[in-house]
Amino acid sequence: MIAYNNVWLEALSVRDHAEGWYDDDLITPEKYASIKDQYPSGFYTPNPFVRLGLSVFSALLIGAAFGLFCLILGDSILSYDRGGSVCFGILCLTVLEFWSIRKAHHYASGIDDMLLYFGLGFLTLGLYMTLSLDTPLQGFAMAFPILLVAAIRYLDRIVAAAAFGCLIAMLLHTLDLLFDNQVLIFSLSTMVVSAGVYLFVVQGQKKTTWRHWDGIMQIVELLSLCVFYAAGNYWMVNEGNIDIKVSFMPFGVVFWIFTMLIPFGYIYFGLLRNDRILLDIGLILVVAAVCTVRFYFDVMPFSWFMTLGGIVLFVGAYVAIKYLKDHNSRFAYDRDQKISTLQRLEERILEHTVSSIPTGMTPPTSNDKMGGGQFGGGGASGEF
């Protein structure tokens, strides 16, 4: 079912676990070394930066190859809108399957990623044009099974996310056909479907036989939590669909309660069950809930809101850290937590995006070169 070598995938996951045990001092260094010896993996998985480089240049190469392909087959039966794209997509997927994975043993190398994305992109868009599908619903219905199979076979998170997006889009378009402008039905059905998907992937992650799909199921879990909230969020329901233009929200109070309570519910259950996905999504959705309230009620001016929000966040985190340092609890503020390369990368990105946020003192006049507008940085003393 999975295109990649199963034994090596298993070896990767054992090594990964062993590294965790080693970091937590549960096994000796000798034991760790012997586990690594016994579980060799022959995949070509480069460092994240090399992966990025390979992705960029593979994308350029595939794009240019498609250009050449179209140029040669210009007006023939295989022009890009008459099956050419489909053929090119299949070509990409064939190269992925038979060269990249089976022969060169790539796994998350950047090259296999790009072959997969471009292959699927050309295939689905090509089919859409070739079959002259004319409604979005038909398009999504055609793409969904392809993306689903690809996500399962190539263990790819982005494809899994796209497949989930397709599913939700299919649902919304079907509902639109069946029930015209029925806000409640839209909202409830989306909630039911995303809750169903959530339960399915959570149960799926408990199955040991499905362990290689844990990564893609986590992504779907995360997305289904977001969609579940969005389906009941007051702003989304009220404004989300411009066609609907509801002047009166049926059961408005129910949606307000949902908007306000769900994020805290996520946080509560996240902490209760040590579920990081629930916890983090809950924290992010608190922001969404606050923004929803601010959209409808002019609670306080922006500046005061930011200032007070900043104080609340800072003091809250300060108190929590202090408490965790002084007390023994189920939770830890553990300074030596292992940070993966990806998380370090994330910190770096955060640092760079935040560094462009103006401090609010943008220069009032053009000849005033002062003003802290361009200052930024931060990221504290994270190791990089």
């Binding site: 096994i27 960029v56 200032t307 340092k325 935040v354 560094s355 361009q374 200052f375």
Partner: protein, 320 residues
């Protein structure tokens, strides 16, 4: 998985039990979440206070607000001084978990304060240089004194504004007028100086761990400036060697210090420069040429990236 390991004879059942117990007793770490909240708190506070003053300028309330910000700034620096560890040229960890964030908040509020003084009272008159020079000196001092890489980045940005460039990555292209010869030259010079600073901090062992911040700014500045020189100023004879030199430097860096990040960065910038020059020199009207060019060159780069471990012996391990 544990059962498999026992079956293979790698782990004894007792060890497996130990691992099982250890895993279930492991506390749930909320460190990353709390750190993010602290950081967001600092940023929001900073944006909020900045707009607050701006909105309340010329009203009675603004003196109260400015006093509050001054007090906040003072309190942050006081906290930093009070909790600081003994100074050392080597790496000194944060004394408390909030230390880094409080110092950062102090620096931000200092900028707001300074901006306000200039706006309201023309504190620095028309000597705008002084207005960016003061934070530059202050932040460099604080960065070294308290061993804070975030403040060091702030200091480098302030230094760049002082010499006339804004170098935050996202505004790099938008805010700068690369038509100006002086600006491009300044960029190259600053890039060289920052690169030298990285070398000095390594050689002299003055805060060796600051080298990445210096080098990162240096390489990007050198590369972007020389690309601007080639493309906008159309002086490839001078700037192309600079670009190649910078690419070579980061290549040396990549080899010497296990830094694949710099290898990829130099490859990307170098590819843009070379491609631009070739297209300009040939200016073919045939799209076939361009497609073939990209297929061939990208293939070459991929081949290099794919085999670089074999091509350059004793090169970087799998690290950043």
């Amino acid at each position: 998985m544990l059962n498999n390991l026992i079956k293979k004879g790698i782990l004894s059942p007792e060890e497996a039990d130990l691992i099982k117990q250890g895993e279930s007793n492991q506390p749930f770490s909320v460190r990353w979440e709390l750190m993010t909240l602290l950081y967001l708190g600092v940023i929001l506070l900073n944006i909020g206070l900045g707009t607050l003053i701006y909105e309340h300028i010329d009203t009675i309330g603004h003196s109260v607000i400015i006093a509050l910000i001054a007090a906040l700034c003072g309190a942050c620096f006081w906290y930093a001084v009070k909790h600081q560890k003994a100074f050392s040229w080597a790496y000194v960890g944060s004394p408390t978990p909030y230390f880094d964030y409080i110092l950062l908040l102090g620096c931000f509020s200092f900028l707001i304060l300074e901006g306000y003084l200039q706006y309201q009272y023309q504190f620095f008159g028309t000597r705008y240089g002084l207005a960016t020079f003061i934070p530059t000196v202050l932040f460099f001092g604080l960065a070294y004194w308290f061993d804070h890489r975030g403040v060091l980045s702030l200091a480098i940005v302030a230094l760049s504004s002082w010499v006339g460039i804004t170098v935050t990555p996202r505004t790099l292209f938008a805010n700068n007028d690369f038509h100006s010869q002086t600006l491009v030259i300044t960029g190259v010079a600053l890039g060289l100086i920052l690169g030298a600073a990285a070398l000095v901090s390594r050689k002299k062992d003055w805060k060796q761990h600051f080298d990445f911040s210096y080098l990162n700014f240096s390489i990007h500045l050198l590369m972007v400036s020389s690309l601007a020189g080639i493309i906008v100023l159309e002086q490839p004879l001078f700037y192309f060697p600079v670009l190649i030199g910078a690419a070579y430097l980061s290549y040396v860096e990549a080899r010497a210090h296990d830094s694949l990040y710099f290898l990829i960065v130099s490859l990307l910038y170098g590819y843009i420069g070379v491609t631009y020059l070739i297209f300009k020199a040939i200016s073919a009207n045939d799209s076939m040429f361009y497609f073939l060019y990209f297929i061939l060159t990208c293939g070459l780069v991929i081949w290099f990236l794919y085999n670089f471990k074999r091509i350059l012996k004793d090169t970087p391990n799998d690290s950043i």
